[in-house]
Symmetry: C2
Subunit: 358 residues, 2 copies
């Protein structure tokens, strides 16, 4: 059987803010069969993840050579993939849930649900080495397996517990607190017994953090002309842990308000992703005197925590002590807008695009 | 017996670079006896330490409230002391070696050699709570007990082994490498089995690092128009550990050259001490992707390592596998110049002022 596969591609390297016009939707005929004797798998994609970090693979700015493969650039018009090679050019790989259409890999059968690195397309053809596993939905929506049970959830869990090393009663500040990771960090921190304040970019998001997610307090950073003073107001006793998703001025303001032996988990720097000239210049004198630790981390280094994370998170969800925020658009053509929106606070919680019904 | 005690005082708060004119030498009559029934000790000072961090207590710029007492400002014309109270106004406390002249503290007797927080003066009168202990010179010069056996040595040892957590074969970069701490860090790192490159501010210092102290390589940062490229040249395989004594551009350049899981010990930021507007703006995106840790530390937190540090350091000195660099001036009147010189690379190794013969 042959179908027309539509997929998102990047037509120009992205400099600065991504625009919808950077993306194009292309169509290619695709035979829904795997090459006999190969290890290939053909998937019908159901849900794909839309993540800010993907900008670092799409933009012209590249990190220094020593950076590791996580930000390897995807060059327009070339075979692009990081973990595996695709059948066609310029597809963009992304985490997602799919259904097996054809498989020459003995681990997967037709109609299996799978989760792993697929593509921003209606179908994915995975060849060579790829990262995929069979999915047991455990009674949860499939979208949960793209968000809370995937990198967003593990990032929040590992970042908070392993990188921040919290103690009960400590004061925790989370930026981008209604984002895919931030809203979970705040809830894990509350459950653990910390005092938690989050910041977000709208009145509605702030209300959500306080009323639905149980943050002790929250504020709209756009209403605060002076972030350092704002943090002084929300943390009269100082900040012990800052879970940083944004970088730049917020990081500087947090350093000024940190307590001695404060810890900063550098999870993301969304404010710097689209502007390589924008930098945080934290006061190093305070970092020395207050013995502050700033630690960058990637979730891929904490896969060993996945079983603990999953069991704790499933329990919390079943008992209603954890809420996940999802922001789901529908249809392949919504991907460019969904992605661009991430850099303007367009999403509330985990941004996911639904491509097809199960 | 009454003497004239001469001491250094700060007459104006210091903004920016310290100048000799910020200091004044005053004289006060002093009776060389301790008040009966008190805990007072009167000392004749022999050697005092001259340290860059003292600027942070002398300058108008003060850190945020949450900083801890280590940078509590000394205000001109007021009783000033941090650990204890002095008999007179505006003396400046400093680490040093002294001889007991009179004591009402049962722990100390006349003619005992002591080490601890004394003053930039010819005599010190310590009242209330003070930090002092009897000194066993162990056959080493008294000056060693102000430098290598005191904070400089422990800072290098604890900073390198506890904060940097080195592995054999790792690549180590040390800035201000001929300074009081840096020259010891480099030698501990070499002994441990690391590859070590240091930077300093003159040809003579660079030669000293390579020829006398056994650094694998060294360079004069003043000869390098582009620090990032310079570090690329000296570390073609990247930097695993950066022992940062300077902050600012050097920290940025080091971050760009760090390997994954690199560690940065933020020990001091001499380039920022005298210019609160000067800041490092490291690339946070590299900190995240390369999982770099930046950790500020103070030696006071590692006093528990003192016995291990002392025994290892004494052994190395006795077997000739460790060299200490000392830069000793003589006489109270040399203190202002010695201090000001620290901020212009005037010293080679630990800066000490000798005030009197034993």
């Amino acid at each position: 059987m042959e179908v027309i596969n539509r997929y998102v591609t990047v037509e120009t390297q992205i400099n600065g803010e991504p625009k919808e016009s950077n993306f194009e939707i292309k169509s290619t005929p695709l035979v829904l069969s795997a090459e006999p004797g190969s290890n290939d798998v053909v998937l019908k994609n159901l849900y794909v993840s839309i993540d800010p970090y993907q900008i670092n693979r799409l933009k012209a700015y590249t990190l220094t050579q020593k950076t590791s493969g996580y930000a390897t650039a995807i060059t327009p018009g070339q075979a692009t993939c990081w973990l595996f090679y695709f059948y066609f050019y310029s597809v963009i790989d992304a985490y997602g849930v799919a259904k097996v259409v054809a498989s020459e890999n003995p681990e997967f059968e037709k109609d299996d649900l799978v989760v792993g690195m697929i593509t921003w397309g209606e179908y994915s053809v995975l060849k060579g080495q790829y990262m995929l596993r069979k999915l047991d939905p455990m009674g949860f929506p499939l979208s949960y397996h793209v968000g809370i049970f995937a990198f967003s959830g593990l990032t929040a869990y590992a970042g908070f517990f392993e990188v921040c090393k919290p103690k009960k009663g400590e004061k925790v500040f989370v930026s981008a607190a209604s984002g895919s990771v931030g809203h979970l960090v705040g809830q894990y921190a509350k459950q653990f017994g910390c005092y938690v304040v989050g910041c977000a970019g709208s009145k509605e998001k702030v209300a959500l953090l306080k009323d639905k997610l149980g943050f002790d307090d929250a504020f709209n950073y756009k209403d605060e002309p002076d972030l350092k003073s704002a943090l002084e107001k929300y943390f009269p006793e100082g900040i012990d842990i800052y879970f940083d998703n944004v970088g730049a001025e917020m990081l500087e303001a947090a350093v000024s308000n940190m307590n001695t032996f404060g810890r900063i988990a550098a999870c993301g720097v969304i404010s710097e992703y689209t502007d390589s000239g924008k930098r945080a210049a934290p006061n190093m004198l305070e970092i020395v005197y207050k013995r502050i630790t700033i630690r960058g981390f990637l979730t891929a280094d904490f896969m060993n925590l996945y079983p603990d994370f999953l069991s704790a998170t499933v329990d919390h969800l079943r008992t209603g002590t954890l809420h996940t925020l999802e922001d789901i658009s529908t249809g392949l053509e919504s991907i460019p807008q969904a992605f661009v929106g991430l850099f303007h606070g367009g999403n509330v919680g985990k941004k996911i695009v639904k491509l097809a019904d199960e």
